[in-house]
């Protein structure tokens, strides 16, 4: 167990290092950052002084070292566009993304799991058919398009919810549904097939033969064992929700990290972009690590491997 967790932890560190290196290389490949800070009227002297301030006079490996040292202390420099420390901007935007992610995740579980159980228990019924349609749309419709369609129908046509932005409590509904639908579909499929497998097993047959009522069989005997595949998937889900927020936040003008990343990207605001990418990776890696721990806790086969 310990060995396993140490390995996962080291992997998380390596991942962070790799991402920081990629991001650093890309920011240098894109050209001298002084072109963004200085205008045509600045002198050669300004140029050189700026170079010293930003550490551009040093060789690349030292520059990366400086970048890493700052990053470890949570210092990514100043955002070009906002003129404030990157960390400040990121912290300001993070809650919106975390909220959206949490609501979407809950939505995907609350819709996906019950629907999965129902369609496995009542295989071939109307519920099963409905579940299939939900899953089919969720796994095939591109989220950005789904979001736009939901927005057009529920916000523009019916006026039930605000079309974009983060104002009232109900403005989160459309973004959360858009973001969560895919994972609801995936959860549903996973729970359904896991339930079908378990329901077919010997010990369920035995329980039935003993006369245990079917409610107990489904909830106690079958469901608990059918939870492992969706749980594994939860790790991927949490990570992917972070990435999915890029698209959904752009569609719904949701003031979170995803939109911030896109804004920074198109404004060539590299310090900000570096900060956001590292933050995303950190969220991603942390989520994956937590799930690894949970998973080892639930499935003894991993603990003792």
């Amino acid at each position: 167990m310990q060995k396993y967790l140490v390995r996962r932890f080291l992997l998380a560190l390596v991942t962070l290092a790799a991402v920081s290196l990629i991001i650093f290389i890309l920011s240098r490949v894109s050209g001298d950052p002084r072109h963004i800070y200085l205008d045509d009227y600045s002198t050669q002297e300004d140029w050189d002084r700026m170079g010293v301030v930003l550490g551009l006079d040093k060789p690349y490996y030292q520059q990366y070292g400086i970048f890493l040292k700052g990053a470890l202390r949570g210092d990514f420099g100043e955002s070009v566009r906002e003129g404030r420390p990157v960390t400040e901007v990121v912290i300001e935007r993070a809650p919106a993304t975390l909220l959206l992610g949490a609501v979407s995740f809950s939505f995907s579980i609350l819709i996906g799991v019950p629907l999965g159980i129902l369609s496995a228990v009542k295989r071939g019924s109307l519920v099963d058919g409905f579940g299939k349609i939900v899953a089919l749309i969720g796994q095939s419709a591109p989220p950005f398009w789904l979001g736009i369609m939901l927005m057009f129908f529920f916000a523009v046509k019916l006026g039930m919810v605000p079309p974009y932005g983060k104002q009232d409590w109900n403005s989160i509904i459309l973004p959360a549904v858009t973001l969560g639908w895919y994972y609801a579909a995936a959860n549903m499929r996973l729970v359904r097939s896991a339930m079908l497998d378990v329901l077919d097993s010997e010990y369920i047959k035995l329980a039935r033969a003993k006369g245990v009522n079917s409610r107990t069989i489904i909830m106690k005997h079958a469901f608990r064992n059918a939870l492992i595949p969706p749980l594994t998937f939860a790790g991927v889900t949490i990570g992917a929700l972070v990435t999915g927020s890029l698209v959904v936040e752009t569609v719904f003008a949701w003031p979170g990290l995803g939109r911030l990343a896109i804004e920074a990207l198109f404004a060539f605001d590299y310090p900000l972009l570096q900060g956001v990418v590292i933050t995303f990776t950190l969220l991603y890696v942390t989520a994956a690590f937590i799930v690894d721990v949970l998973y080892a806790y639930i499935d003894p086969r991993i603990r003792y491997a």
Partner: protein, 346 residues
């Protein structure tokens, strides 16, 4: 104890029963997805002959025309001498009104077309630049096909080679390659992809490169698993004993054994590639405009929705959804047919 069969008369199947048999066989084929995929491929390959209009240029006078089946929208407006911006939705100027009805007077009411009716000239309507949406959707299939084929061939080959090596050599090589896979799974790749595309410039080849980075690990993992099983087979040992080179064993003896799995993985991956490509296009990091790509078309229509112009975004999105849906459906079918073991995996 033998059963008594004497009373059973075996009759040859009737024509109807034969037809039912054929029908049952066809029913098992995924007709609908195959039809959709066929349509997409035909559209992509023969776009210049099928598309009714030029996808990249349009007449601004014909912009925002709705699909053929929709009626025009009219509104009664008051004729005024001059109007302020706030009155624009309720009134119309005298000079404009005279063009419709020369006898109109100030203060009269007049029925005006807010939106023209759809025409059969543009079956799915036109976009904000007067370009035919149908033609753009048809041409959009080209980009999707091109990108997925190239990505699949290049990314798939890389993944397969990596997987073969990892499975065959084991040890450090395996460890290194699989950690690479883990890292890939742990970074927000779409963000990195966006940074890459914006930094290095928008072009088809950069997008393909980025997408290859996305898909190779899936192939590598799958092939590695297969190799681990196959490499202990007797026929592989036999090849080794008879002096076959490692490359020969890997590509001639082991690789063919993985093909069934690969076909399934590839089909399911194409759907993912199409979704990713359209997402990049939507975010403005796809194939540069004016080349029609489904994702960027959805983005084009986004801010027109509030004005009720829904068709620009809707149709390309439907195209993406139907294509991906068909690929998933077809992939599931292939999996069940070629390799039932895989059913456990997803």
């Amino acid at each position: 104890m033998a059963a008594d069969l004497s009373g059973i008369v075996i009759t040859p199947p009737t024509r109807r029963a034969k037809a039912a048999g054929v029908y049952r066989k066809i029913k098992r084929l995924p007709i609908l997805p195959l039809f959709v995929l066929g349509l997409v491929v035909v559209c992509g390959v023969f776009a210049p002959w099928i598309a009714p209009h030029d996808p990249e240029s349009g007449d601004l006078r014909e912009r925002n025309i709705p699909p053929a089946w929709s009626n025009g929208e009219t509104k009664v407006k008051v004729v005024v001498e001059r109007m302020t911006i706030s009155e624009r939705t309720t009134s119309v100027t005298l000079s404009d009104a005279r063009e419709v009805d020369p006898n109109i007077q100030l203060g009269n009411n007049i029925e005006v077309f807010v939106r023209p009716a759809g025409s059969t000239k543009f079956l799915l309507g036109t976009d904000h630049l007067g370009r035919d949406v149908l033609s753009r959707v048809i041409y959009g299939a080209r980009i999707s096909i091109l990108v997925s084929v190239v990505t699949l061939v290049v990314g798939g080959s890389i993944g397969v080679t990596m997987g073969l090596m990892a499975g065959w050599y084991g040890g450090i090589v395996d460890e290194f390659l699989m950690r690479l896979v883990d890292i890939k799974l742990a970074i927000p790749l779409i963000l990195i992809a966006l940074v890459l595309v914006i930094t290095l410039g928008q072009s088809l080849w950069i997008i393909v490169t980025v997408l290859c980075l996305f898909i190779w690990p899936r192939f590598a993992r799958q092939v590695r698993g297969e190799v681990l099983q196959l490499k202990n087979m007797d026929y592989v040992s036999l090849a080794k004993v008879s002096g076959a080179s490692t490359a020969r064993i890997l590509f001639i003896h082991i690789f063919p054994g993985t093909i069934n799995t690969l076909i399934v993985v590839a089909t399911l991956q194409v759907g993912i590639v199409i979704l990713l490509e359209s997402t990049l296009s939507f975010l403005g990091a796809g194939v540069p405009p004016p080349t029609p790509a489904w994702g960027s078309m959805v983005a084009d229509g986004r801010d027109k929705l509030a004005g009720g112009v829904w068709w620009i975004s809707t149709f390309p999105g439907v195209a993406i959804m139907l294509t991906v849906m068909s690929l998933n459906w077809f992939g599931d079918w292939l999996r069940d047919t070629l390799d039932p073991r895989l059913r456990q995996l997803e």
